[in-house]
């Protein structure tokens, strides 16, 4: 495969220093809906001003450039070790360009590796697909939002939540309540219903790549996403937890087969700085998505 390092650095730069159009649009709608002069409106105003500045100066939208999480879809027959090495080289170089902060810390010694690489860092998920092209999707997920992500095991007696969509609804509302403003509200929720504990979070984060305006093809899930968006905002936590009308910007969920004994709801809370970007390579030509 051709040398993609330069393109991968550009992918990281785009993810870190700008927000997707749908997220910016949602933030603008939120700003207009908050009471003029309120702390919530002021916070959203600063957020929008910051995004404009970051894009203009090519500096990170948020100083916590997160764990870089790569979802890679590759054509049949393509090895992944070389690509992985190129991505690692791009991550280290993007840090030298100040698009990323060094975020890889050894849990035993407390030492920061200094180059943003470490054991299992960044995160990679490879999947072979039918298409004759390579796609690299990147999510920069900050630590504050990761800390308020949560996994529920249903039934849940405290919430009187059973093993059904009504139970899922209660778990999601509780997770958003528990998060308060700590995950940098207004957040975006990626949710996996079912699966096992580890895959549940992988699927939940994959949901965060869906555009905010899309409609879930599964009718029951589409209805629940809509209801939860409305109900999460009724919690009144507001931007930064200052109180206000906008607590979440989007709710995206998928259902995955589960073990008969298990019913997990995995909720990946993403901050308002939902930094996702993608690139596709077909016949050597690179297109940013």
């Amino acid at each position: 495969m051709s040398d993609l390092v330069e393109h991968l650095i550009e992918l990281i730069r785009r993810a870190s220093t700008d927000l997707p159009a749908d997220v910016k649009a949602a933030l603008r709608v939120a700003q207009a809906s908050e009471e003029s002069g309120s702390a919530a409106a002021g916070a959203l105003e600063s957020i929008l001003e910051n995004v404009t500045l970051a894009r203009a100066n090519s500096t990170p939208v948020c100083q916590d450039t997160g764990t870089p999480i790569f979802y890679i879809f590759h054509p049949q027959g393509m090895g992944t070790r070389h690509l992985r090495a190129q991505i690692e080289a791009a991550v280290a170089e993007a840090m030298r360009c100040a698009y990323l902060r060094p975020n890889a810390v050894d849990p035993l010694t407390g030492r920061n590796s200094g180059n943003n690489l470490g054991v299992g860092f960044p995160s990679f998920y490879f999947r072979e697909w039918e298409e004759d092209l390579l796609r690299v999707d990147l999510l920069l997920k900050g630590g504050g939002s990761e800390n308020v992500s949560a996994q529920y095991k249903l039934p849940h007696s405290g919430l009187k939540a059973g093993r059904d969509l009504e139970g899922v609804r209660k778990a999601v509302l509780d997770a958003v309540y528990q998060a308060q403003g700590k995950g940098c509200a207004p957040g975006i929720l990626g949710i996996a219903i079912g699966s096992d504990r580890s895959s549940g979070y992988v699927h939940a984060k994959e949901q965060l790549f869906r555009p905010l305006g899309d409609v879930n093809p599964v009718e029951d899930l589409a209805a629940l996403e809509k209801r939860l968006l409305d109900e999460c905002n009724q919690l009144g936590i507001g931007p930064m937890g200052f109180g206000g009308k906008t607590t979440v910007l989007g709710v995206k969920m998928g259902a995955y087969h589960r073990h008969p004994a298990c019913y997990f709801v995995s909720i990946a809370y993403m901050c308002w700085a939902c930094r996702r970007a993608g690139l596709e390579v077909r016949d050597g030509e690179v297109v940013f998505k």
Binding site: S46, C62, Q63, A98, R101, N112, Q234
Partner: protein, 209 residues
Amino acid sequence: MSIVDLSVPISEDDIRALHVGDTVRLSGVMVTGRDAAHKYMIETFIHASSVPESERPLYEELRRLLKGGAIYHCGPVVRQDEEGRWHFVAAGPTTSIREEVYEPEVIAHFGLRGVIGKGGMGAGTLRACQEHGAVYFHAIGGAASLIADAVKEVVTVYKKDEFGVPEAFWVIRVEGFPIVVTMDSHGQSIHDEVEAASAAALRRLVGLA
């Protein structure tokens, strides 16, 4: 609610005049410190029977900078220019609640007037703010490029190699640094109010009311 310009060092009278909801533009020299820094201050300075000789210069420097000053919960993205000078590229706040176990003692020991971060802090910090005349300032989480614009100079850095870039003590000079008082020195906390109201909404929505 009002907009107030303050400079470090901040007097107790100025702090006592602030109330939750007030917007502040802070200027002067302050210090960043987060998880590793707080653990270090507690273990090496505050709980130690005596400060080790090797750490004494930093202790004296922090005592000077933090008296009447502010600590900022932040792990910045930095850039070093050809002359070796550091610059803040992105510098929004990190979640403060992780420092709750340490902060009340840090406020008391160093005579802090302001703790800056995001997400708010707990009952211990709120009490320390009341007792010692300090407030919790909320910066806008994620507004990193905007906030970095208010950082006019990186004066120096301590413990960069030992703690890593995000966790080091960065001494910075700021101008018009934008923050909101969300916990004041009169026992008021916006975070407590929002949490209580959202708990009631949750009980209604989940059917536990």
